[in-house]
């Protein structure tokens, strides 16, 4: 029961914040709504007992990436941009296609449980009490099975850091 309440609470906040985010005129308001959407996603991770990912989402996404976004928004914030049109010319066609995509995938999810022998499994997830310690399990998997992707991710972050510094530097 607690699981249900938590899920609907966080899911509601996530969807509402996301919808508000793509429709705000003021970019700082959009950023704030993205922050709440990311926090709600972190809540969903916690509800799924993925504690390490919950805190990584908060430290990296909310505390790192969103701070970066807010900084850049303040650097490029133009008052004149507030008065201009916010949505591109293709908005109605784009909306139609996006909703068609949503309808397709939604129909697939909906009908997958009903066709016998096909679709999504109905396994029962492990009871929360019998789950292994999350940080230890993630660390074990990261450093034993997925060591190479881990090292590649570090190289990727290094490259991105150098690229961002080079691009944002003042050409003096």
């Amino acid at each position: 029961m607690l699981d249900k309440v938590l899920f609907y609470f966080f899911a509601g906040i996530a969807v509402a914040s996301a919808a508000l985010m793509v429709t705000r005129r003021n970019v700082v308001h959009s950023a704030i709504f993205l922050i709440t959407a990311l926090l709600a996603t972190a809540g969903i991770f916690l509800q799924l007992r993925a504690e390490f990912l919950f805190i990584v989402q908060i430290i990296l996404y909310v505390g790192g990436i969103m701070v970066l976004f807010v900084f850049v928004i303040m650097l490029v914030n133009l008052d004149v941009a507030l008065q201009q049109i916010q949505f591109a010319r293709q908005k109605w066609v784009a909306l139609l296609i996006a909703l068609a995509l949503a309808g397709q995938v939604g129909l697939m999810f909906w009908s997958s449980g009903k066709m016998p022998g096909q679709g999504l499994p109905v396994l029962t997830a492990a009871a929360a009490g019998r789950l292994p310690l999350n940080s230890e399990a993630v660390a074990k998997s990261l450093f034993e099975s997925y060591l190479l992707p881990f090292e590649i991710a570090s190289v990727l972050l290094l490259v991105a850091m150098i690229g961002a510094v080079v691009m944002a530097k003042n050409r003096t």
């Binding site: 704030i32 504690e51 908060i58 505390g63 969103m66 310690l133």
Partner: protein, 450 residues
Amino acid sequence: MMHSLSQATIEFLKLYWAPLLCGVAVVAILPLIVGYIVLVERKIMADMQARLGPMRVGPHGLLQPIADAVKLLIKEDIIPDNADKLVFWLAPVLSVGAALLSLAGLAVGPAFQIAQDINIGILFVVGVSAMGIFGIVLGGWASNSHYSLMGALRSSAQLVSYETAAGMALVSALLFTGTLNIKSIVEAQSKEGIWFVLLAPVAFFTYLVASIAETNRAPFDLPEAESELVAGYMTEFSGFRWSLYFLAEYTNMIVVASVATTLFLGGWLRPFAGVARLNVLDFVPPLLMLAIGAYCVLRAPKQPTRVQQMFMLAVAGLCFLLGLVLVAPVIVPVAKPLYAGIHGAFWFIFKVSAYIYLFMWLRFTLPRYRFDQLMRLGWHFLIPLSIINVLLVGVALIAGAYFHLQGWGLLLVTTPAAVIALVAALFILAAEKQRDARQGQIAASDFYAG
């Protein structure tokens, strides 16, 4: 459905009534505690500047925080003209929310923890308190003022820069524990028999400096210095909103001190917790309280007014009572199970207070860092130092495991590691200074935000 909902609520309350009650109590009492920390800071500042500090409101100025709180609450709430009202309201709430939420993960004693047994314990505290950055940035932006925005961008740039160094310092101390759970960290220090401040001194030093920068305290308080940017991001906030920011800052100080105490200073363990021969140290807390009480009794006749005399005697009585509470678990066998809780809480609060006293001492002693010097210290010294330290502590641990060293024996491998790390970082700094001098420019950096 409604019946099951109400039943589920009752089940929830039956399970979680204690943390909820503790949480509400902490949030209710914390503003009072923070007010008195401010008073203690003003008294210590006065003492270091050879004066008396607040003396007028209440005996020895002890009602000063109450007067300040009342004044702040009844002040007019001014909102700047073109300020964004929603964000202006939200910013202090974010700061205070993040600071108070991170308090939930801390453990004051082996039995005093609001959120029990979090698997990611210390990472939770550090991560959630990092969310306070938004309170600063959005507050500065919502004020619709250049000084506020500049102060906010500088302050958040400083916070972000020192967060990396603080995190790396914590990582190198966590290498000794193998777990993020707060209780397990303190138990690891109890098992090794040595506090991690001795095993990882460079990490402690890095965390100390980084935590001063994280909480915007002097000598890293340029973003909120009066002579520089008025009050930085807090300029346009008056009355209750400002007091929320203040509360957030001092709560952050408490959180940072608690993290350092848990990870480096042995949490709730008494010094030499494992050594049975030094059990006489168990009598130190009650004797300390007795000494303070005796001092108050001796000073009582010298007070100028009757009210102050009676007040001193009341304080002495309180100290004696506390001493009695502290001595009971050590002497009376029936109260022994309470020993860990009560003495643990005493030692924890003692260490946190010592750390905060260190903060205040540094504030009143050192001059302020200029912003580019601050950034240079963070990026060019502390981050290389903490990264090298992580590497070398890892190597030291492997060497220690190879030679089957344990407890105090680990000092043999970790001290050389610490020395090498410090020397390497200073070498990097010196090489950079030489290169800058050769290029004929003063060591400046373009880390100014915007």
